[in-house]
Amino acid sequence: MTGPGISWYVALSGALFGIGALGVLLRRSPLIVLLSLEIMLNAANLTLIAFARHHGGADGQIFALAVMAVAASEVVVGLGLIVAIARGRLELDVDKLNFLKG
C-alpha cells in the first residue's frame, strides 16, 4: 500500500470533526449548523474508509456508504425544516427557536 500512513488520515479526520463540532456549537444559522453536521459525518466516514484500507477489509467501506445514505436523508429533512421555518417567517437563528424548552 502506497500513500500517506494511517495516522495522517486520522489526524485529518480529527481536524474535520473538530471544525464541524465547533461549527455546530458556535454558529447560529441552522443552515450552517446542518453543514457542520455534514462535515462531522464525513470526518467519521473518512476514518471508516481509512481503517478499512488499512486492514484490507471491505466492511468499513460498506458502512461508509450507509452513513452517506443516512446523511443524505438527514439533509433532506433538515432542509425541509429550514424551508418550513423560513416560510413561517420565523427568524433563522437556532438560539431563538426555543419553543420546546421545558
Binding site: L25, V94, D95, L97, K101, G102
Partner: protein
C-alpha cells in the same frame, strides 16, 4: 321432522340478522315485512314438526336432534340439541303463530316511528330466543334462551330510550329477571354436581336418586327462575312497569309468550317438581296469592295497559296454580288460550291507543263503542274469554285448572276457593275497563279524535291480526270439552302425565260456580261503571293500599335499594375517595411535578445540548481509556 324444528328456530334469527345488516338500505316497511315473514316461516316450520309428530305413535313423539357437541369437560358434555316433543311443539306453534300475528300488527302500529328497523330486528330476535327456550334439548340451552328472552325484553321495554321511565322500567325488568336466572343457574350447578348431566332425560333420571334436601334445592332454584320470569309474587313488580314499551311488545312478550315461560319450565321439569311436593305446593300457593293480589290491584289502575298487565299476572297465577297441583294439561291449555285472548286484548288496547294518539288513561276515554265498533266487538270477545264465559276459550281452560284444584282435595280446596274469588275479580276489573273505555257517552278526548285520522279503526295490518285472534280467542277452547273429548290433554299426556284427573261432575260443578262468579263480577261492574247506579264504596285505607300496589315497590325500596345506596355511599366516603381516588390523584401529581423538575433542563438552546453531548462523550472516552 327435525329440519322443520331447525327452520323454525333459525328463521327469525336470519330475519333479525338480515334487518340488522341491511341497515338503512331497506325501507322501514320492508324491515317490518322481513320480520313478519321470518316469523311466519318459523310458524310453517313448527307446523311441519307438529304434523310429523302427530303422525307417530304417542310413545315415539320425542325427537332429540343434536347439531354438535357444544361444551365438553371430562365426563360432562352438553350438545347444541333441540328436543321436539308434544310440549315443545305446542309452545312452538303458540310462539311463532301468535308472534307472527303480533309482528304483523306492529307494521301498522309502529309506522312512522323513528327507529322501526331496530324495533323489528329486536322482535325477530325475541322470537328466536323464545323458540330456543322452548325447543332446547337440555337445561343449559334452555337457560341460554331464558337469558336471551330477558335481554330481548329489556331491549324492547326500553325501546323508546329517550323516555326516562322506559329506561328505568327496562332496568327494573332486567334486574328482577336476573334474580331468577341466578337461582336457576344455582339449581343447574347442583344438578351438574349431583347427576353429572343437564340433559332432560338424564337429569330427571338422576334426580330420583338424590336426597330430598337436594331435590328441594333444585326445585326451589327452578321455581325462582319461573317466578321471576312469569312475574309472580314476590318477583312481580317489573311487569306493570314493563308497559312502558310499545303495545305490541306488551302483547307478545308480556302477555302471550315470555311471561308464560315459567309455566312451561314447571311443566318441562315436572319430574323434579314431583320429587319435591313441598315446592310444588309452594308454586301453586304463589300462583293463588298472585292471582288474588293482581286481581285486586287491577281494580284501581287507571292506565288501560296496566289493567291488562295485572290481569296477565293474575292469569299466570292460575297457570301456576294448575302446574303446581300437577294439572299440567290444564296449565298449558290456559297458557295457550291466554296467549290468544290476552294478545287480543293488548292489541285491541293498542288500536284504542293508536286511535287516541297515544292516550292510555282510561279516565279520559269513554263511549268508544260508536267510533270503533269492530274494535269494541273484538275487545268484548277477549274480555268474555278472559272472564271465562262459555263457550269462549278462557272458560274451558280456567275451569280445567279449577276443577283439578277441587279434585286434589285438602290444600287444593283452599286454592280452589282462591281461584273462584279470582274469577269474580276478573269479571269485575275486566268489565270495569271495558265499560270505562267503550261504554257511556264519548268523552271530550274521544269526540276530538272521532273523525280526525280518516283511517277508520286502524290500518289493515293491524285489524286483520286482531280479527284472526278474535276468532282464535272465541273457538280456541273447544279443543278440550269436559266429558266429551280431551284433545289437548291427550296430546300432552306422554310428556307430562297429570297428577289429578277431575271427574266430569267436578268439572260441571266448577263451571257453574266459576261462571256465576264471573257473571257476578260483570254485573257489579255494570252497576258501578255502566249504569252508574252504585258508587265505589269509600274505603280510603284499602284504596291507598291498592293504588300503591300493596306497597311492594316501597318494601323493596326500603329493603334492598336504600341499604345498597347507603352502603355504597359509606364505601365511597370511607374507601373510594381517600384511598382509590387519593392514590390516583397522588400518582398524577407526582408525575406532573417530576416532569416539571426534569423539564427545566430543556433550555431550548441547541448549543447547550450539543455541549452536553460533547462533554459526556469526552468523559466516556476518558473513562474507557483509563479503565483499560
Amino acid at each position: 321432522m327435525t329440519a322443520g324444528a331447525w327452520i323454525c328456530l333459525l328463521s327469525p334469527l336470519a330475519g333479525c340478522l338480515a334487518i340488522t345488516l341491511a341497515g338503512g338500505r331497506i325501507s322501514r316497511r320492508t324491515a317490518g315485512i322481513v320480520a313478519t315473514l321470518s316469523v311466519f316461516v318459523a310458524f310453517a316450520g313448527a307446523l311441519v314438526s307438529f304434523a310429523a309428530l302427530a303422525g307417530k305413535d304417542a310413545e315415539e313423539r320425542a325427537q332429540l336432534s343434536t347439531a354438535w357437541t357444544w361444551l365438553s369437560a371430562g365426563g360432562f358434555d352438553v350438545g347444541l340439541s333441540l328436543l321436539v316433543d308434544p310440549l315443545a311443539a305446542v309452545m312452538m306453534l303458540i310462539v311463532s303463530g301468535v308472534g307472527g300475528l303480533i309482528v304483523w300488527y306492529s307494521i301498522g302500529y309502529m309506522a312512522g316511528d323513528e327507529e322501526e328497523r331496530r324495533y323489528f330486528a329486536y322482535m325477530a330476535f325475541f322470537v328466536f330466543s323464545m323458540l330456543l327456550l322452548v325447543q332446547a334439548g337440555n337445561f343449559l340451552l334452555l337457560l341460554v334462551g331464558w337469558g336471551l328472552v330477558g335481554l330481548a325484553s329489556y331491549l324492547l321495554i326500553g325501546f323508546w330510550h329517550e323516555r326516562p321511565q322506559a329506561v328505568a322500567a327496562a332496568k327494573k325488568a332486567f334486574v328482577m329477571n336476573v334474580v331468577g336466572d341466578a337461582t336457576m343457574a344455582l339449581a343447574f350447578f347442583v344438578l351438574i354436581q349431583q347427576t353429572g348431566t343437564l340433559d332432560f332425560a338424564g337429569a330427571f333420571a338422576g334426580a330420583e336418586g338424590l336426597s330430598s334436601t337436594t331435590v328441594n334445592l333444585v326445585a326451589l332454584g327452578l321455581l325462582g327462575g319461573a317466578v321471576a320470569k312469569s312475574a309472580q309474587l314476590p318477583l312481580h313488580t317489573w311487569l306493570p312497569d314493563a308497559m312502558e314499551g310499545p303495545t305490541p311488545v306488551s302483547a307478545l312478550i308480556h302477555a302471550a309468550t315470555m311471561v308464560t315461560a315459567g309455566v312451561y319450565l314447571i311443566v318441562r321439569a315436572h319430574p323434579v317438581f314431583e320429587l319435591a311436593p313441598d315446592v310444588q305446593d309452594l308454586a301453586a300457593g304463589l300462583g293463588a296469592a298472585t292471582l288474588l293480589a293482581a286481581g285486586l290491584v287491577a281494580l284501581v289502575q287507571t292506565d288501560i295497559k296496566r289493567v291488562i298487565a295485572y290481569s296477565t299476572m293474575s292469569q299466570i297465577g292460575y297457570m301456576f296454580l294448575g302446574a303446581g297441583l300437577g294439572a299440567y294439561g290444564g296449565g298449558m291449555f290456559h297458557l295457550m288460550t291466554h296467549a290468544f285472548f290476552k294478545a287480543l286484548l293488548f292489541m285491541g288496547a293498542g288500536l284504542v291507543i293508536h286511535h287516541l294518539a297515544g292516550e292510555q288513561d282510561m279516565r279520559r276515554m269513554g263511549g268508544l263503542r260508536k267510533a270503533m265498533p269492530r274494535t269494541s266487538l273484538a275487545f268484548l270477545v277477549g274480555s268474555l274469554a278472559l272472564v271465562g264465559i262459555p263457550p269462549l276459550s278462557g272458560f274451558w281452560s280456567k275451569d280445567a285448572i279449577l276443577a283439578s284444584a277441587l279434585a286434589s282435595g285438602g290444600y287444593g280446596r283452599v286454592l280452589f276457593v282462591a281461584g273462584l274469588a279470582g274469577a269474580f275479580l276478573t269479571g269485575l276489573y275486566t268489565f270495569r275497563m271495558l265499560f270505562l273505555v267503550f261504554w257511556g257517552e264519548p268523552s271530550g278526548l274521544v269526540a276530538e279524535h272521532a273523525d280526525g285520522h280518516g283511517h277508520g279503526e286502524g290500518p289493515r295490518s293491524m285489524t286483520v291480526p286482531v280479527g284472526i285472534l278474535t276468532v282464535l280467542a272465541a273457538v280456541g277452547g273447544l279443543l278440550e270439552v269436559p266429558g266429551l273429548w280431551h284433545v289437548f290433554g291427550d296430546w300432552l299426556h306422554p310428556v307430562a302425565e297429570p297428577l289429578v284427573e277431575p271427574s266430569t261432575g267436578q268439572d260441571y260443578l266448577t263451571s257453574v260456580l266459576a261462571v256465576s262468579l264471573g257473571l257476578a263480577g260483570i254485573w257489579v261492574a255494570w252497576l258501578v261503571y255502566a249504569a252508574r247506579r252504585r258508587t265505589v264504596p269509600h274505603a280510603p285505607f284499602l284504596r291507598r293500599l291498592l293504588e300503591h300496589k300493596l306497597y311492594f315497590d316501597e318494601l323493596y325500596d326500603a329493603l334492598f335499594y336504600r341499604p345498597a345506596v347507603g352502603l355504597a355511599r359509606f364505601w365511597r366516603g370511607a374507601v373510594e375517595q381517600p384511598l382509590i381516588d387519593g392514590s390516583i390523584a397522588g400518582v398524577a401529581l407526582g408525575a406532573r411535578e417530576a416532569g416539571a423538575a426534569v423539564g427545566r433542563a430543556q433550555t431550548g438552546f441547541l448549543r447547550s445540548y450539543v455541549l452536553a453531548i460533547a462533554v459526556s462523550a469526552a468523559i466516556l472516552l476518558v473513562v474507557f481509556v483509563s479503565v483499560k
